[in-house]
Amino acid sequence: MARVTLDNVNKIYFSRRGDVHAVQDMSLNIEDGEFISLLGPSGCGKSSTLRMIVGLESVTSGEIRFDGDLVNELEPQERNVAMAFETYALYPNFTIEENLGFPLEVRGISKQDRKEEVHRIAELLQISDVLGQKPGALSGGQQQRVSLGRALIRAPAAFILDEVMSHLDAHLKFQMMIELRRIHQSLERTMLFVTHDQMEALALSDRVAVMNEGRLHQFGTRDDLYHAPANVFVAGFIGEPPTNFFTARPDESNGALTLLTLDGGTRFYPSATRAARIRSHGADQYIIGIRPQNMSPIANGLDTSITAKVLLNEYSGERSTLTLMAGENRLQAITHSSDRIKRDEEVKLYYHPDNVLVFDVETENLLT
């Protein structure tokens, strides 16, 4: 069991061709038994952060503590954390059973106990039928599950899972997500999951830490990230397809405060509280964000809408994604796949004023 604390942690990679400040002033408090995710685009510093926690990478400055004890100088094996990697890192000449049992063998656990534990974990991960084979004979998804199993079998204080689901197909991924959730609930161990896939992060973790360019942008629950994204980056990164953005200026010519896009073609009605906030903020331009799933061609009792022309209708089974143009602005909306909307059709997209997010143009921070 461990509470993991990062206090102003920095990581700089020194190089002749210019230093890279990979992690900047990162502070994070992971509660004991909490399941959290580090999420960010590739190159955001999430893997560096993780590697510092495990001890595979030195800390340039700042402190990392487990249950209050400073671990900056401890070797990886002294930290009692287990890690599963994106690249499976399996022993190619060992069978799957030997690969899984290896961490136990190192700790001198008897053959019988080892066998029982290996079979229990194999059952959990649905790889019982390949225990006798070598990694080379397994598919990528199966190898990944073995790698995960090898981390789970050690029963450490904290688990670190680095992109462990990226090679699984959608079907298995979903099963594994529910499995991991269940494993976490039964083990009650601190789990730190690193991924670029927001669906995995949102589904699995209690809280998600969103990183970009070496910095932590927001640390919160799914609802925090969806309804109150700290800034334009978080709003754009969380949500699939990404949030639509417009630059607009406030307009009070009709009495009520509305936001009119710069091309003058699209008018948004923010909620009364946000309108008041815009008035007190007093800037002459704002960035508007609205999520594709919050814009629908079906009115559903709403009377606020914008008009746009369909460029593309991408069908993906349960739903379709429309790509449209509203004046000079490109945007996306999600619809039911049964709505057969054609290219070049003009549609009205309805939205709820509460879903219009407003950001400052300069700082890109949400007006709260």
């Binding site: 590739s42 990528g140 990226s166 927001q198 990164f237 593309l312 349960e318």
Partner: protein
């Protein structure tokens, strides 16, 4: 000009990965192969590229049999899921390598590499080496190296699966509009059904031994020929209930074998099922056709309402997954993430029985097409 034909292709003898496969991909067509991991999607691409040799069958490109040509003589460009970049060369040189091999003029190489790099948003890192860029950036470099060449067939092996949602959606839109892809035959391999449905002009669902069904996105999702296709496309996957058909008061009903749940069969389906004398079936209903009915909400006739207890509620990004127990059976529904359900909560679910599928319990064939 460059139509790709695969005739009677076989790979492997005792347990063939690909068994007698036939496929024609037209010039300018974007053909997507989707299937579970380990089924042989990558093997198919490697056979076309010449990295593996088939045990039988022919690969014909624009009328010429290329089955016996070595890989470097085939007008084919392929991206690999494992990137396969040159570690000692910069991003620029990696993308430029197919052009250098053809000894094109320096200026043309520079122009084409930079065009591709801008398209893929890696023009800022052009001087870095693969070890100095992130995984997603490596993947885009590998994709760039494929796009820059001027082949007659593009083979794309999971080219965007490791990227984050934002870039993935941008690249997806580009695949729809990229001119370069409209001049050649494309085969795109993915394990992500949503990606497959949204990108493919046609989709081939791969199962044991080869393609199980080929068709447009609407065809494979809405008219799956087999249980395997229905189960593979869709997330969460389709509810499958092992059912016995019986007639009660002249009405056909499906009785779940493992619980006391019974479901009425829609008129249109009942006629076909009776004609086929079906009795033991796999009843399939997609989670999107099961909805929560709020208290006091009017219920339309086609919905079959069942009382349930919530067993799991998982809010994802744009939707949530709701699993519930009813009469001893577990069913999965799609719901909105904005409304929370607690474990143990009593709810009413409406099942749109007109959208059900019926598969033969033994052969897995769709009985109502």
């Amino acid at each position: 000009m460059a139509q790709l034909q695969i005739e009677g292709l076989c790979k492997g003898w005792d347990f063939p990965v690909i068994d007698q496969m036939n496929l024609t991909v037209e010039e300018g067509e974007f053909f997507v192969v989707v299937g579970p991991s380990g089924i042989g999607k990558t093997t198919l691409l490697r056979l076309i590229a010449g990295l593996e040799s088939p045990n039988e069958g022919r690969i014909i490109l624009g009328g010429n049999d290329i089955s016996r040509l070595p890989p470097y003589k085939r007008p084919v460009a392929m991206t690999f899921e494992s990137y396969a970049l040159y570690p000692h060369l910069s991003v620029f040189e990696n993308i430029a390598s197919p052009l250098r091999a053809r000894r094109l003029p320096k200026r043309e190489i520079e122009q084409r590499v930079m065009d591709v790099a801008r398209l893929l948003k890696i023009d800022q890192l052009i001087t870095r080496r693969p070890a100095e860029v992130s995984g997603g950036q490596k993947q885009r470099t590998a994709l760039g190296r494929t796009l820059v060449a001027d082949p007659e067939v593009f083979l794309l092996d999971e080219p965007i699966s490791h990227l984050d949602a934002k870039i993935r959606h941008e690249l997806r839109a580009q695949f729809h509009t990229l001119e370069a892809l409209r001049r050649v035959a494309n085969i795109y391999v993915t394990h992500d059904y949503a990606e497959a449905l949204s990108l493919g002009d046609r989709i081939g669902v791969m199962g044991q031994g080869g393609l199980v069904q080929v068709g447009t996105a609407h065809e494979v999702f809405e008219k799956p020929q087999t249980l395997f296709v229905a189960e593979h496309l869709g997330q969460p996957s389709i509810n499958i209930l092992d059912c016995e058909l019986s007639t009660e008061d002249g009405v056909l009903i499906a009785c779940h074998r493992e619980s006391s749940l019974t479901l009425p069969v829609a008129q249109a389906h009942a006629q076909q099922l009776k004609r086929g004398n079906a009795s033991h079936v796999s009843y399939g209903i997609r989670p999107q056709y099961i909805t929560v009915i709020a208290d006091g909400e009017a219920v339309c006739d086609s919905l079959h309402v069942v009382d349930c207890t919530v067993s799991l509620f998982e809010p994802l990004g744009t939707y949530a997954i709701l699993m519930a127990e009813t009469a001893g059976a577990t069913i999965t529904a799609l719901s909105s993430p904005e409304h929370r359900y607690e474990q143990g909560e009593s709810i009413r679910l409406g099942i749109d029985t007109a959208e059900a599928f019926f598969f033969d319990a033994v052969t897995g064939k769709n009985l109502v097409l």
